[in-house]
């Protein structure tokens, strides 16, 4: 086939590409600014990053309703993309706000930090927006590389570097599988474009083609690694624990969301035909993921690690929604992703505030008696924990209701029962945090709180939204439904 000339871009397309362009430009700008020495405490990187994120969000939001497949579907602008672009921009912005003071405190206040943050965001957006395995792969790699570095950003610290090493080695290993899977899919269908793949599969008699199946499985495994699904989850606790707290928050929310975005695109656009093949597989993975995540979290004393396992468990809940499939399942997944990102970022935001200078105070013991000295911070943390545990009136509850509801509707009762029982188990360790804060007296010198306006702003934002979506979830629900509609 002869390469045909690309269709010219109309104005809307430029707005649609605005995020990509802005983020790339922002990254480079920050790097360029690094050439000019700044005073140690400067936060120009943060400012530029914030502006970039705002700009990209705004430009995409302007054309939120148009649907444009660009570059032959290598970048598709639809409601789905818009939803995730906005989500990622929000996540990025919150992460920037949290980092603002944290990076100063921990002496990693280089412009590169923010540059990489933006690059990672760009990668996420690509994963969500691309309708072609090539760009999915590139976006994934872009995000991953940036994250590898961010995880190891406190290079003076062994735990940070070790985390980076593990994350990198396993990440590369996993992307090897992913790549091979893509290769097989390509071989089986003759294309890497999801849309064409679907078309091909829709009228091809041999869905049972082993290459197809293996390819699909390897791809699932590859994304499973990114979203930290059992048994591809084992990097998560170590990476989360070693990474700078703000980075942990960012990746726990963003990377997972991006992974699910890509997974949804692949499964719902390209491979709906194989549904009866990947449904059971995913159900088992979901059950394993929920159970292993929650059970392993029970005994954790380091909050970052505990939240890592909890994020694994939440991946499990999300997989339930994916298994439920269809618009409902997709919408539920989107809704839950948004909610999850908010509350998780919030929790990490609180953790990022704890401790003086370089020190990290993120164990249960460190939180002891927090409620007496910092009642409001403790209250915020409590609400995030309850939300993660799915207790009303918080967003987490609504998310669970919606996810499990769609699953019930899809007739996945056993899966749902496992899920709700898991959420009971999870409540145990979330409560342990409140126990520490409210019912224990601190041993040793009590933890200090490094108050900083931006971080507080971030916490307030996440807190407000967590509560608001818990009380009034309607708007977000509608958005999620509209977004998934754009996909199908």
């Amino acid at each position: 086939m002869m390469p045909n000339a690309p269709a010219a871009l109309i104005a809307a397309d430029w707005w649609a590409l605005g995020a990509v362009i802005a983020l790339s430009a922002g990254t480079m700008l920050i790097l360029l600014l690094e050439l000019f020495p700044a005073r140690p405490g400067s936060s120009r990187g943060a400012i530029v990053a914030l502006l970039t994120l705002a700009a990209s969000a705004w430009s995409v939001f302007r054309v939120r309703d148009v649907r444009r497949p660009l570059f032959e579907g290598m970048f598709v602008h639809d409601t789905f993309t818009v939803f995730f672009t906005l989500l990622f921009c929000a996540v990025g912005a919150i992460a920037v706000l949290q980092s603002w003071d944290y990076v100063r405190r921990t002496r990693i206040n280089h412009g590169e930090y923010y540059a990489l943050l933006l690059a990672a965001t760009l990668g996420m957006i690509l994963m969500a927006a691309s309708n072609d395995l090539i760009t999915v792969f590139l976006g994934l790699e872009l995000m991953s590389l940036a994250l590898y570095i961010l995880v190891g950003f406190r290079r003076g610290r062994l735990d940070s570097s070790e985390a980076a090493l593990k994350y990198f080695l396993l990440g590369a290993f996993a992307s090897g599988f992913l790549l091979y899977g893509i290769a097989l899919l390509y071989g089986a269908t003759g294309t890497t474009n999801l849309g064409r793949m679907a078309i091909f599969l829709s009228d091809s008699p041999m869905l049972g083609n082993p290459m197809l199946l293996i390819g699909a499985l390897l791809v699932i495994a590859g994304f499973g690694f990114k979203v930290a699904a059992v048994p591809f989850h084992m990097w998560t606790p170590d990476a989360y624990e070693g990474a700078p707290t703000t980075v942990t928050g960012f990746m726990s929310a963003g990377a997972k969301a991006a992974g699910f975005a890509a997974l949804l695109r692949v499964l719902l656009i390209a491979l709906p035909g194989l549904a009866h093949d990947w449904r059971p597989v995913l159900s088992w993975i979901a059950i394993l993921t929920m159970t292993v995540g929650n059970v392993t979290a029970l005994l954790q004393t380091n909050l970052k690690r505990m939240l890592a396992y909890s994020s694994i468990a939440h991946a499990g809940y999300l997989l339930v929604a994916v298994v439920a499939g269809g618009t409902e399942g997709g919408a539920a997944a989107l809704f839950y992703l948004a909610v999850y990102s908010l509350m998780n970022l919030g929790a990490f935001g609180v953790l990022a505030l704890l401790g003086r200078e370089q020190e990290e105070r993120v164990t249960l013991a460190d939180l002891a008696g927090l409620s007496t000295r910092q009642p409001l911070l403790a209250l915020a943390m409590t609400i995030f924990m309850l939300s993660l545990g799915g207790i009303p009136p918080t967003a987490g509850f609504m998310g669970k209701v919606y996810v499990f509801g769609t699953a019930v509707n899809a007739g996945l009762i056993p899966l749902v029962i496992v899920g709700v029982l898991n959420s009971v188990v999870s409540v145990f360790y979330y409560l342990r945090v409140t126990v520490a804060m409210y019912m224990r007296e601190p041993q040793g010198e009590p933890v200090e709180v490094a108050w900083a306006a931006p971080a507080v702003l971030a916490i307030l934002a996440t807190l407000g939204l967590t509560l608001w979506f818990g009380v009034q979830a309607h708007d977000l629900l509608v958005q999620a439904q509209r977004s998934i509609m754009g996909l199908l």
Binding site: I391, F404, V408, V420, L421, V435, H474
Partner: protein, 517 residues
């Protein structure tokens, strides 16, 4: 009937005042106490219309309010009361101020949070009673756990953390399955009627196959049975009661446990009539076991609070028995027993709290001969004790008798077994009373025990009043519950034919007085 949204106001006023108190800048304990008391009393005042303006005659929802909540799910903010919930709500609003006042001297640390929690808890409980939308109901039902959890965990006794977490997890473990059932109902209803809604009325009208009912019923019943608590799901109760601060124990016993029985009346029975009919023998069996078991175990408790806790197990067994007698007397009796238990056991916990404040022990063995130093206290305690063992003339009797009457008409055997519980209750209560108040003063510390203070007398006066009023002239209460219970009964009976029930256990010659309806 009246424009003003009483119920919403009742739900949100305590919430607001809780927020206010919590946000209060470092204020002295005095001001906080007074504020909390004022709020609670105001709340009680606001709740009075529920008594006056309620039309006893009609069974349907009253004071109903409805507005959109989550249109995309069809969930609405729909509240209202019927004869059952209105009384439980009043019980709540009446007890809260009492509890607040009683806590004045009991709570030293972090008073702001304490009173805020109490008021928030009140809001949660009222919401649970008022909600007519299952999602809304569930939200309140779960949200309620948080303040209670903190009350136990922060202001509780030595093993408070264990007790608090146990309470939370145990209750939640039961409720999540109910959530699944609710969701299933929701989608089933949507499939049948095409209307997405969580409205209770819609589900009442929803026809369900027997098999479906069985599972749904089990899910609901488990949640409520844990809350009641029914044997053998009761073990969270003693721990929670023993560790909770007095105020917590009172609310827990007086209102939270009623959530379970209320759930049966409001949801489990009318929603899944044939299933509940089918499971009647099991539930009654558990109720009977609970009655005897609770009584027997209570008898040997060395700790006052534990004793009262186990007696609760026994009393709530009576409630369940009455409800599942599935006839007017039984259900009315169950309802009365709920209220009685609320008043009497609440008072008992308050009394235990009083003596605990003075002596910092709850061990019966540490007391004895208390009548001499504290005659008033002893008298109040005696009256409450008598009401809790169901002496005629006190509230306890009315409930117990009606329960037994109803049970007997359904199946005499049940009533006979349950009546044994009546003997046992006298046994353990009076034994406890004797060991505490009679005989010589064995411990010198008890010589100087202070008698009830004026504040405490004010706390107990209304309770004693209720005890006698409900015992001597319960008709107004019965008149209010009657139509609602009849409707529930009708809903249950409507499709009971689908499954055999023990209703006709005693085939008796037609009584001239007409017998059962």
């Amino acid at each position: 009937m009246n424009g003003f949204p009483w119920l919403s106001w009742l739900i949100f006023f305590p919430l607001l005042s809780a927020a206010l108190i919590a946000m209060l800048p470092k204020a002295s304990g005095r001001t906080i106490r007074w504020l909390a008391t004022a709020a609670a009393l105001a709340e009680m005042a606001f709740s009075l219309p529920l008594w006056w303006r309620y039309q006893p005659g009609q069974p349907g929802w009253q004071f109903a309010e409805q507005m959109a909540w989550i249109p995309s799910l069809g969930a609405t903010y729909h509240v209202g009361v019927d004869g059952v919930s209105v009384l439980l709500a009043l019980l709540t609003t009446v007890l809260t101020p009492i509890v607040v006042i009683s806590a004045w001297s009991a709570v030293e640390k972090r008073e702001r949070e304490f009173y805020a929690m109490l008021l928030a808890l009140e809001a949660g409980m009222l919401g649970t009673f008022f909600a007519l939308d299952l999602l809304l109901f569930y939200v309140f039902w779960e949200a309620m756990l948080i303040p209670m959890y903190l009350l136990i965990g922060v202001w509780g006794g030595p093993r408070r953390v264990y007790a608090a977490i146990k309470f939370f997890l145990y209750t939640m473990a039961g409720s999540v399955l109910m959530l699944v059932a609710i969701l299933w109902l929701y989608f089933h209803n949507q499939a049948v009627t095409g209307v997405p809604t969580f409205a209770l009325d819609a589900f009442y009208a929803l026809p369900l196959a027997a098999a479906e009912q069985t599972w749904l019923f089990l899910a609901f019943a488990l949640a409520f049975a844990i809350k009641v608590p029914m044997f053998p799901l009761h073990t969270w109760l003693p721990d929670a009661h023993v560790e909770a601060p007095t105020a917590g124990s009172v609310i827990l016993a007086a209102v939270l446990l009623k959530m379970g029985t209320f759930g049966y009346v409001r949801f489990a029975m009318p929603l899944f009539p044939s299933a509940s009919a089918q499971f009647t023998p099991w539930i009654v069996a558990l109720a009977l076991v609970g009655i005897l078991y609770g009584a027997l175990v209570a008898m040997v408790q060395p700790d006052l609070k534990k004793l009262v806790a186990y007696s609760s197990v026994s009393h709530l067994g009576f409630c369940m028995l009455g409800l599942y007698a599935l006839n007017p007397q039984g259900m009315a009796g169950g309802m009365m027993t709920m209220l009685n238990h609320g008043v009497s056991t609440g008072a008992l916990f308050l009394l235990v709290g009083v003596i605990y404040e003075r002596r910092h022990t709850r061990m019966i063995a540490d007391f004895g001969g208390l009548w001499k130093p504290a005659p008033v206290y002893a008298t109040v305690f005696l009256i409450v004790t008598l009401s809790s063992i169901g002496l005629p003339g006190t509230n306890g009797f009315v409930g117990e008798f009606l329960v037994l009457l109803g049970a007997f008409r359904t199946n005499p055997g049940w009533a006979i077994i349950a009546a044994v519980g009546v003997i046992l209750s006298a046994l353990y209560m009076l034994w406890m009373y004797q060991r505490m108040f009679f005989g010589p003063v064995t411990h010198p510390e008890n010589e100087q025990v202070r008698d009830l203070t004026t504040r405490e007398r004010l706390v107990f006066a209304p309770l004693l009043l209720l005890i006698f009023w409900m015992g001597v002239y319960p008709q107004p209460i019965l008149d209010r519950t009657q139509p609602t219970l009849d409707r529930t009964l009708a809903l249950v009976k409507a499709r009971v034919e689908m499954a055999p029930v023990a209703l006709d256990a005693n085939a008796r010659p037609p009584a001239p007085a007409g017998g059962r309806p």
